[in-house]
Symmetry: C3
Subunit: 135 residues, 3 copies
């Protein structure tokens, strides 16, 4: 069995991006390779002109009586945690070619944390025999 | 280790259904068996009278400044991609018996792409030793 | 390969909590250890003062023409299903230390179904070599 942790990262809100980043950083700190495929709203969140802005919270945050992030949603350090993950270990971040096309995003406008673009087949091959999450 | 890809498909928006379908098609193209359990809103999306309608987009799509699907949300080819996946390989789509009951859906009103209904135990046994995603 | 089923439980709506609980109960009934990490809105749902209230439904439920839970959203027995899962087998529910901090939640205010708090590393180690879901 492979110890690679693979993540299809679809969601674009700060809380879910943060959850993905902390899992990536945790795995990298354990010397596990990490393989991330950015789809749809996560891909959109990594556009250079958007990456530093407030990505908001998941729908679940809006229900009455919910706790709120103590320091505000904009303070959730998802981008810094991805940067740290890449410093800690072997973390590859791929833009999904199909999602680039559906959303009309040019891969050259993405943040430099994104290593390359590729398709599902490339992702599934890198994920082979290891744990996979959809976030 | 089993090379079956198993997906608990819970979400009912076109973008997440499409993400699931492309993963299923990609795995089927690699000759991997695919095992899908439809729960809640994904199950609802497969009702015959709903399956061809616009399923909308995930909550994340609504944040200010987001990219939009170039050809519109209704154009996201999730159903065609599931059809293609089933033509490419061994893809089983099961309606979750518990979700049928919670939502009061009669299994005979589902699209013919759905092969059968079954419970969590059936799904977990088919998934044994392979990769599992919750979408 | 380990037969532990691990779940990062992030979502806090009754339907997704129920999906997680039924998977946990199904795995426990098959004598598989279950390892759950509560993050963000799932963690918030387990606060003692909130756990018995209506947690609402996922965003997907709100689209026009959707089926509705026959007995109402408040009737979805997610908490009872988690209780049953713990009676059926070895089910550990951990509060994510990072999410406790982000949301300013004191671990002593959580429902007694939550066994302990811990970090990502603890979770990933318990999950090693088994199936993992993000819900």
């Amino acid at each position: 069995m492979s110890d690679t942790l693979s993540i299809v990262l679809f969601s674009g809100t700060a809380d879910k991006l943060h959850a993905a980043a902390t899992l990536a950083a945790g795995a990298a700190a354990m010397d596990r390779p990490v393989n991330i495929l950015l789809q749809y709203w996560a891909l959109d969140a990594f556009r250079s002109e958007r990456v530093e802005t407030d990505q908001g919270l998941a729908f679940d945050a809006g229900a009455p009586g919910r706790s709120r992030p103590v320091a505000g949603a904009a303070s959730i350090p998802w981008l810094e945690t991805f940067r740290m993950a890449k410093e800690l270990g072997e973390v590859s971040i791929l833009a999904c070619a199909g999602s680039l096309e559906v959303l009309g995003i040019d891969a050259t406008t993405l943040d430099p944390l994104v290593d390359d673009s590729g398709g599902i087949a490339t992702f599934l091959m890198a994920a082979e025999g290891g744990q996979v999450l959809f976030i």
